[in-house]
């Protein structure tokens, strides 16, 4: 996140001289305006040999087992503390691939733009996309742009799909999880969701809460290099937060999970904001966070390695897999009480008092 910011300041990407200030329906027509928008912006900025082919699809060479993932990104506001929808779209798919144990390589990038989006904002998003791609070491090799009428979108929607080859030492899958496995979380919880909420709802906290959006592929790859099959499962707790992901895993594996509130890593400001709004950080969305299920014998070493990585410096072991209470996640509260962790029935809404 912070490295992205520094890069952005260094990057020499002046906005091209264009004869339009906002995106119009014509920019999605496939005609002259579309070409003007793409030529002067997207292609130049994201250029690589495969994209330069400008064919209907990309010609790729991949060796070995391959992971393929897709995701759509709609976030309001499109610019938020710590990032914007562009880097979110790249990091999101990169991270989905990383969670498969893959080394992400190529992405597709599709925009659905609402008529009226200032070109300046589109350019800023594109620059973020370029930086996020560079940071993750991936290339955009194919894409699409559509424009919808004013009122029929929310400024901009982005879809990214990605492929990558599976790391040769990776052996990732929920069937590998065993009783006794430790659950490691790679960093502070709930930052992304609270950063979005702070701007979306017009809340002004004393200190700005930043989204944790970032790529995780290098950190994950490093862990798999070192620990290989001791990493049993990787997952990123995005929408629905940590609670939802753990509950899904408990249900699908038919194993039990114990977690300990006292061990949850969380930034003080984020925790206070959650308290203020009556939101449970366990259910708040994350973007630059992963959860690893690791064999008990290697857990401390994995944790140490992760903590030496800037992106994993706040990593903690938050729980373990148990054979008691199959399919259930049990949380031990800070004062030692126990309760079941369920999935949310819908969107988490702030409480009245």
């Amino acid at each position: 996140m912070s490295d992205n910011k520094n890069l952005r300041m260094q990057l020499q990407c002046p906005m091209p001289q264009l004869d339009f200030d906002v995106i119009t329906l014509g920019h999605g027509s496939g005609g002259v305006l579309t070409n003007k928008l793409l030529d002067s912006g997207v292609f130049d900025l994201l250029k690589n040999d495969i994209l330069e082919e400008r064919h209907d699809g990309a010609f790729l060479e991949l060796n070995g087992k391959t992971a393929f993932s897709t995701d759509s990104f709609l976030v309001s506001p499109i610019f938020f503390p710590g990032g914007n929808i562009g880097e979110l779209a790249i990091n999101g798919t990169v991270n989905d691939l990383a969670m498969c144990g893959a080394i992400p390589k190529y992405l597709s990038l599709s925009f659905i733009i609402e008529e009226g989006l200032p070109v300046k904002e589109f350019w800023e998003i594109l620059v973020s996309i370029k930086i996020a791609c560079e940071n993750a070491g991936v290339q955009v090799v194919t894409g699409d742009t559509k424009v919808v009428e004013k009122g029929k979108g929310d400024k901009i929607f982005i879809n990214t799909s990605g492929i990558g080859t599976i790391h040769p030492k990776a052996l990732i899958g929920s069937r590998n999880i065993k009783v006794g496995d430790k659950i490691i979380i790679s960093g502070n919880m709930a930052s992304h969701g609270m950063a979005i909420m702070s701007v979306r709802e017009g809340l002004e906290f004393d200190s700005e809460i930043q989204s944790d959006t970032t790529n995780l592929n290098h950190s994950v790859s490093n862990l798999i290099d070192k620990f290989g099959s001791a990493i049993h499962l990787l997952t990123d707790p995005t929408r629905g937060g940590v609670a939802t992901v753990l509950k899904e895993i408990a249900q699908s594996t038919e194993l039990g999970i114990d977690i300990f509130q006292k061990d949850f890593p969380i930034n003080d400001q984020v925790a206070s904001a959650c308290e203020l709004l009556g939101l449970d950080p366990l259910y708040v969305a994350n973007e630059g966070l992963f959860i690893a299920f690791v064999s008990a014998s290697e857990a401390n070493a994995v944790l140490k390695t992760l903590q030496e990585d800037e992106k994993g410096k706040n990593a903690k072991i938050i729980g373990s897999v148990v054979d008691a209470h199959p399919k259930q996640v049990i949380l031990e509260s800070a004062i030692g009480g126990k309760r079941v962790v369920s999935m949310l029935p819908g969107e988490q809404l702030p409480r009245i008092c």
Binding site: K327, S333, G336, L349, R351, I352, C353
Partner: protein, 364 residues
């Protein structure tokens, strides 16, 4: 956070629990009046940590749960049929009306917005002069000052397109109603700390004296609740019935006179319908005549007939502490947070939803 963490100290929690175990000699039933305390009890796993002789009863203290069905229907109608931006606190949105919730109305295109302060709604009214802005003013005495202030502010600023749909419920009359119910057998009360921050403790003295029940004004952190329970049990064991203040770090005996002043400026006390319970005398706030231009029920013509509650829902008995959520035949079967029959299953402060989410009675 540092301040809060002091009220979540596990060692101190153990000490309180030990003391509760050493003090209690026979079964007692204690009602936590406020849904925030119910939430704290179940979220922190306190109920299972208490000795068997202590039974916690979850009271009617969730203003979202007790908002009359008819008023939600009115809010939905205004949002859908009139040129209205309907503003509300978040957890009101999922509460089912007789036909739909505000969240469902939003999905149909109604302009429904979640706010944290009614003053934001006045700003929205100023920014949207061609729209009517209605704030769904729900809550206990706690939210009443801000809601009243929004009306005063709109009045002083000459904002004409703002109104509140008021559904304020008052705690002391609810405690009396619970005690007066022949079926309820409650030995002592944890009163809602936030409410007393505004109103003070004076209203509780006559209740405690008349009904011979201990009432302890209690906060919401786990240690607050444990200490409150201990204070009630100590009184019960000593056959005392007094008002005590566990939440003295926040609550003053006289409350907050400035907040009370603005409440009295805008509101007057009236009989109030409580969803699932019925009408409780002098238990709500109505907008005074002076400000009726800001009273949505008077400002807009809304003729919504009273719809019956789902007959299978026993929320009234649950909110009066006569039955526990899992004693309801529908609990976790036809009635779930995704398909609530009654309001206590909707709000996160509702007793049924709290049990469903946290106690492990039902698989999600």
């Amino acid at each position: 956070m540092k301040y809060m963490s002091e009220y979540r100290d596990p060692e101190l929690a153990k000490k309180y629990l030990e003391e509760i175990k050493n003090t209690v000699s026979r079964p007692w039933s204690i009602m936590e009046v406020c849904g925030g305390q119910t939430h704290s009890l179940v979220k922190n796993g306190i109920i299972d940590m208490l000795p068997d002789k202590v039974t916690m009863i979850h009271g009617p203290g969730c203003p979202v749960c007790v908002t009359p069905l008819n008023l939600i229907d009115k809010a939905v109608f205004l949002a859908l049929e009139k040129n209205v931006i309907l503003c509300s606190f978040g957890d009101m949105l999922r509460v089912p009306g007789s036909q739909k919730s505000l969240l469902e109305a939003k999905a149909e295109g109604a302009d429904v917005r979640v706010l944290y302060s009614p003053l934001e709604a006045v700003k929205i009214a100023q920014d949207n002069p061609d729209k009517e802005v209605v704030f769904f003013a729900v809550g206990f005495e706690t939210t009443a000052p801000a809601n009243a202030l929004s009306v005063v502010h709109a009045h002083r600023s000459g904002v004409k397109n703002y109104a509140i749909l008021a559904s304020h419920v008052l705690v002391p009359p609810a405690i009396k109603a619970v005690i007066d119910d022949e079926e309820s057998k409650i030995d002592g009360f944890l009163a809602a700390g936030h409410v007393c921050t505004i109103m003070g403790n004076t209203e509780y003295h006559p209740i405690s004296a008349t009904y011979k029940v201990p009432i302890v004004v209690t906060g919401f952190e786990p240690l607050d609740v444990l200490q409150g329970i201990l204070m009630v049990i100590r009184q019960l064991e000593q056959s005392k019935s007094e008002v005590e203040n566990q939440y003295a770090r926040i609550v003053r005996e006289e409350g907050n006179p400035e907040a009370q002043k603005v409440i009295n400026e805008v509101f007057e006390i009236r009989n109030q319908m409580w969803r699932g319970i019925g009408e409780i005398p002098d238990s709500g706030y109505a907008v005074r005549k002076k400000y009726e231009a800001y009273d949505a029920t008077k400002k807009y013509e809304v003729n919504i007939e009273e719809a019956p509650e789902n007959p299978k829902c026993i929320s009234g008995q649950i909110m009066k502490g006569i039955k526990k959520p899992f004693e309801c035949s529908q609990f976790g079967k036809t009635c779930k947070p995704t398909n609530p029959l009654g309001a206590p299953m909707v709000s996160s402060e509702g007793a049924c939803a709290a049990y469903y989410h946290f106690s492990g009675m039902v698989e999600a």
